[in-house]
Every structure is written in structure tokens, then in C-alpha cells.
């Protein structure tokens, strides 16, 4: 792993930080239910809201890391995003693409595997979180602002029980 990890603890508040950003631990039950809450609120745009929140939040973290560590090439920046995803416990990504878009394979997934552990397989893709994450990763890799890419989950681990596929296109 090439990612530099600086874990720190505020001895007064006991808040935890990773590379300067406050982080907190939860389980698959939490993200499964947050995902389901977003699904249940589809009529007010819940899934898109979840994607947007993740994209904006992760863009800030990934961009900050790239700037502070002088990571400039798209390949290196993609690697930062891919490795951060794993450090967060979200799973394992294989990333391919160019500035115009690409394809991401989800080999292991906290959200999909957590969903299946909790409720079994689902009838449609549910990994809105990772759609937002990948959009942020591509935007930072190619030095673009948020909302530059649209990410669609075309094959879902929550549905098939195997790997997931995400298609990335320029917005």
C-alpha cells in the first residue's frame, strides 16, 4: 500500500482522526440501514442524496490528501482513492478508465456483503454509497470538481452475490 496513514487521537475528546479528518467506527448494520433509509425515501431523491453526500465528502478527503502529498498523476490519484476505500473497510476495488470515464469492479464490499448478511440478496442494486465514492475518486484523479462524473451500478453484488460493476461516464 502506498497510502500514508496518520491515525491520531485527541486525548481530550477521544475523537479519532485519519490524515487530519475525524473518523468514526460503525458496523454493516448501520450502513445497510442508512442505505435502506435512502431507498425508502426514493420519492424525495434519497438514493441520489446519499450519492451526492458521499461524493462531496470523499472528494474533500481525497483532494486534500493528493494536495498535501503532492500526488499529481491520475493513476496515482486513483490509487489513493482505491486504497482509501479499503482502509475505510468498504471493500476492494479494481479501477480502469481514462478522463472520459471507465469501469470499476467491486471485488469485496462492506455494503453489499453487509446487506446480504442482514437481509439476504436483493432484487436491485443498492450500492449508492460506492457510486458516490467512485464519482469522487474519478473527479479527484482527473482534477475536476464534484458532479463531473455519473456513476451507474450495472451489476450488483447484492443481487448476484458475486462481483459488482460500476460504469463511469462524464456528466
Amino acid at each position: 500500500m502506498s497510502l500514508k496513514l496518520d491515525f491520531s487521537l485527541d486525548n481530550e475528546t477521544f475523537r479519532r482522526y485519519l490524515n487530519g479528518h475525524a473518523v468514526v467506527m460503525h458496523s454493516h448494520h448501520y450502513l445497510a440501514l442508512i442505505t435502506k433509509l435512502a431507498e425508502d425515501l426514493s420519492d424525495i431523491g434519497g438514493p441520489q442524496l446519499l450519492k451526492d453526500v458521499v461524493e462531496e465528502s470523499m472528494w474533500a478527503v481525497l483532494h486534500d490528501y493528493a494536495e498535501k502529498n503532492d500526488v499529481t498523476s491520475p493513476l496515482q490519484r486513483c490509487t489513493v482513492g482505491r486504497e482509501y476505500y479499503s482502509v475505510y473497510g468498504l471493500g476492494k476495488l479494481k479501477v480502469g478508465g481514462t478522463e472520459n470515464g471507465g469501469e470499476v469492479c467491486l471485488v469485496r464490499s462492506h455494503i453489499d456483503e453487509g446487506w446480504i448478511k442482514k437481509w439476504g440478496r436483493h432484487s436491485k442494486p443498492i450500492n449508492h454509497f460506492t457510486c458516490g465514492y467512485i464519482a469522487a475518486m474519478f473527479a479527484v484523479a482527473f482534477n475536476k470538481p464534484v458532479k463531473s462524473y455519473t456513476v451507474t451500478e450495472t451489476e450488483s453484488m447484492a443481487v448476484t452475490g458475486t462481483e459488482g460493476t460500476f460504469i463511469v461516464t462524464l456528466s
Partner: protein
Amino acid sequence: MTVMRDTVVKSLAKITIQGNEDGLIPEYDVLENLLPAALLNSFSERIMAAAPQEKKTMVADGLVRAAYECGYHTGCGIITSDVFNDVVLPMVTEGEKDILRGAFAAFTAWGWAKSGIVQLKAGEKMVIRANDYYEADSGGDGLRAYMLRGLCQAFFDLTYADPYPDGMDTYVCQQTKGIEAGDPHGEFIVTRKHASV
């Protein structure tokens, strides 16, 4: 010897977690994740803001429920873990009360909230005071420490309700004060469901 909170907090706070070679964190019989607090706060704030008035209670309940189920299942894994056995159990002399004290020390050590029990009536009522918690930084209106409400209820259920996994939803937690709403600390009161606070 009863549970020495500072000792437990300092011991458990040293533990750092991160994803394994598969990018997963299998701990405490669940899959853990480690996410930016700002992301979680932003989701709560924006989903509450997006919900129409008639759905706001349902959305708030959904946020609490996510934390509750997370806390109930993960909490069981924590209080039966090797680290809890090593650090907390040697200090336990008052049974369930000490387990609960140890659990809230873990609560603090893992950065959920700098909090502790200020009133405890075994099996009936618990008052938690939190002097710092990440939801205090969230935007929005009113009391909104959804995560803390869910976790406080979960830990009380684990301690005093029927044994895991049959004790879910025996108690309920209400937030009565919040740093996010201008109070000097957060306050959370757990009581049996349908009993008044």
C-alpha cells in the same frame, strides 16, 4: 474494585482499526467501517432537510434505528470480545452495572462520544451525559444526536433486557439536551418503552 473508567478508556483508545487485505474490517462479529464523521453528519442533515414535514419523524426514527441495530449487534460483540474480557472484566464487581460502565467507557474510547452514566436505576432508567460527540457538529434544527440515542438504547437493552438477541426494543432513549442545540452538554434518558421520562 468497580470499573475504573479512565483506565478502560485509555486502554481501549490505543486500538486502531483499518481494512484487511480484502478491504474489510471483520471485528466483534460484524463488518466494521471507519468513515469520516463529516460524511455521516452531512447525510443526517440533508436527508432531514429534504424530508417533508410529515416524514421528518419517520426519517429521524430511521436514523436512530440504524444506530440502534448497529449498537445492539456490535455492542454484543464488544462486551463478549477478548479485549473487553482482558481490560474490563477484571474490574467488574457489581455485575451488570459494571458491564454497562465498561461499555460506556468503550463508547468514549472509540470516539462515539465522550460520555458517561450520571444516573442508573438497574433495569429501569439510565441518564447519560455527553460532553463531546461528533453529531454536535451537525447542521440542522433541534436535538439531532440520532446515533447517540440509538447506541444508548442498545447498550441498555443488552444489559437489562432479555439475553441477546431476544431483548431488542425493550427500552427507548430520548434526547433531552444537546450541544448542537446550544446546551452545555448532551443528555440522554433511557427508560422502558411506554414508561414516561
